[in-house]
Assembly symmetry: C2
């Protein structure tokens, strides 16, 4: 009746663990899976990338997920069903990445799964409400591997916004003694993590800096009928108009010190159309417009650093925008005293950095490491993130 094959206690005691990280982003177009070899924990973790892949989600299923994630969607039964279907997909993704790495499930110590965010409402009357689907208990039973999931709830219970959690991982992966490190993640929105070492370990600060690729992508579609400015080639043929940038940077948002987050709403159609109009008023060429939008991202970062007193010996770039060479150069111009590199140069493929984050956080949960996210999510006390589910 009772058996005891795999013990949580034994897994905790393992010096070296193969851990899988699973994640599906807000666009829900695929499940990112990665497999890492992790030894130690906390700031003395050693994390070795073993394998990564993105397993596409069918267009039909993606449509269903996106529908369920709409703010106006409120069908509880549909969520309960989706929770189960998504967990089965996540479990399959775990199985596939194990195979890709040439390993057996028995060799895997843990899975860390972010799940699929279906609702994220900061600052309601109940605090932040955040809800991820793909039940980790189901992933554990299906794979036979201890699975840690639901990473955001504990932070919201402690008064935080449950996001972002990547700054912790950036500190674990990239933090150095005697050197201050910045990690700039350039997605639609750009966010920065600053990691300064101190006697206790690391002092971490993180916030959104403003637009990342959102305006650039919008303009590339509008002016060049292409999805994005590959390598920054379009921008590099123009010259940025500083007056337009300065006008934007004067806005209140950029003067806010400390924790802040920007939504997609802020730099959507309306903002981009008005930006384009200002450029045309000044008779900028299509290329000048691209250069201006790209330099805005760099100057927004620089403004954020000035206001918050951030200085980096090294600045690591990740996210889609990291591949934009014009942007990279513009950032170098703004922060001439920082050594600028891609995270790829540190051995981590930027496409799988989020998935690897949850492998790392699973390890942290098992080792009962508490993080104080006051300066990142606004939480009131240090908590352990994640629920541990055994098969």
């Amino acid at each position: 009746m009772m058996s005891k094959n795999l013990c949580l206690k034994d897994i905790i005691g393992r010096k070296e663990k193969f851990i899988i990280g699973l994640n599906s982003g807000t666009s829900a177009n695929g499940i990112d899976a990665c497999l890492a070899k992790i030894s130690g924990s906390g700031y003395s973790s050693k994390v070795e990338f073993v394998a990564g892949a993105t397993y596409p989600i069918s267009r039909e299923f993606q449509t269903l997920i996106l529908k369920c994630a709409e703010p106006s969607f409120n069908d509880a039964s549909a969520w309960l069903a989706l929770d189960i279907i998504l967990a089965e997909h996540f479990a399959k993704a775990a199985g596939r990445i194990i195979k890709k790495a040439g390993l057996n499930p028995e060799q895997i110590s843990l899975i860390g799964s972010h799940g699929q965010t279906i609702r994220h409402m900061p600052q309601t009357k109940y605090g932040t409400i955040t809800y991820q689907l793909a039940d980790p208990a189901r992933i554990a039973v299906r794979t036979g591997i201890i699975t840690v999931g639901d990473f955001r709830v504990a932070d919201t219970a402690a008064g935080g916004q449950g996001a972002p959690l990547t700054p912790i991982v950036n500190a674990i992966l990239f933090g150095k003694k005697d050197r201050s490190i910045g990690v700039l993640n350039i997605g639609g929105i750009a966010n920065i993590t600053s990691i300064k070492s101190n006697r206790k370990g690391h002092e971490i600060f993180g916030c959104d800096t403003g637009p990342g690729n959102m305006i650039i992508d919008w303009l590339t579609k509008k002016l060049f009928q292409a999805p994005f400015d590959k390598g920054g080639k379009l921008a590099s043929q123009g010259k940025a108009c500083r007056a337009i940038i300065d006008n934007i940077i004067k806005q209140k948002y950029f003067a806010i010190k400390g924790v802040k987050s920007t939504g997609r709403e802020q730099y959507g159609d309306e903002f981009c159309a008005s930006f384009l109009k200002s450029c045309k008023k000044r008779n900028l060429s299509k290329y000048d417009i691209m250069a201006t939008a790209t330099q805005l991202t760099a100057i927004a970062l620089s403004k954020c650093c000035t206001i918050n007193g951030l200085k980096f010996d090294e600045l690591l770039l990740t996210g889609g925008g990291a591949k934009n060479l014009f942007l990279k150069r513009a950032i170098k111009d703004e922060l001439p005293n920082s050594q600028i590199d891609l995270v790829n140069a540190r051995g981590y493929h930027s496409d799988y950095l989020e998935a690897i984050s949850f492998a790392i956080l699973a390890n942290e949960a098992i080792c009962s490491n508490r993080y104080d996210l006051t300066t990142i999510t606004g939480s009131a006390k240090a908590v352990v993130l994640g629920k541990i589910c055994q098969p």
Copy 2:
């Protein structure tokens, strides 16, 4: 930034643990809390009852919970809010039972929380869907105590119905070497756990036996305007009509061998009204009717034992019906070879047996003990029950 006060590993290693169990039943009229001292785990657990209490839920809040639990209710946002409010109530109940026991939170190793069932749908096209509110991660953060919750999901992922889980606990609490034990829980519906020791530990079987107090309570209200037959006094003044009972026991349900469950629907208004009609046709007195309904519960148990080949050296009674002396005697008549006792005689107050169950299951989860519930919930493989959440 990072701290490490309380380690999961240390808690697992503790020989003796104070553990809190929390539960709120389908009637949602209060949170049952109990505190137990548990040493060891599995079938060699030693469980000592320390304190128990039921903390009432306000009528207003109860109404909200019951509304949210209606099968037709489908408002996802309301569930997300209720999840948070309930967790705060559960956390408070934990705080109060610690105080009542004269202990400090630092002395408590674990909380096991069942939460509030808000949806239970066996055998949908996705398997059993079961959903409990009062997020254990929130309880953990609020109390500062590691909390295990969401006990039913893993079993449903393994193909089971996620319920009942109490047979495992009955085996741990009452199982004996060389003696076969039965535990009869007489609520509205009655269910039996049979525990036979074998070389591997215990062989457990559990199922509903049929009506418990449902018909008796209905008739007491109808014929005597009282909520229930206290001590079985009404029934003891009458004489049961065997012909009526035999007619009911002939029904298909009582002939089903193996795992089966009965719903409240089956012995509701319709059944009770028809039962009363049959009694009146035979000119039974009010007291004879009570005796007949009460003996039906005993004979339904006996029929279940015959069909499933169950024999008990000891039969332990729990639930509201255990206090009905006429029923106890009727059971003794049906099972003359069994020694019949109340669970209270074994040191466990029957009012807190469910709450204590989740304290025990929390300990089992931490110790990674897997249970094969094939003969109870219909699951396909042994799993560890519960998600572990650290503060």
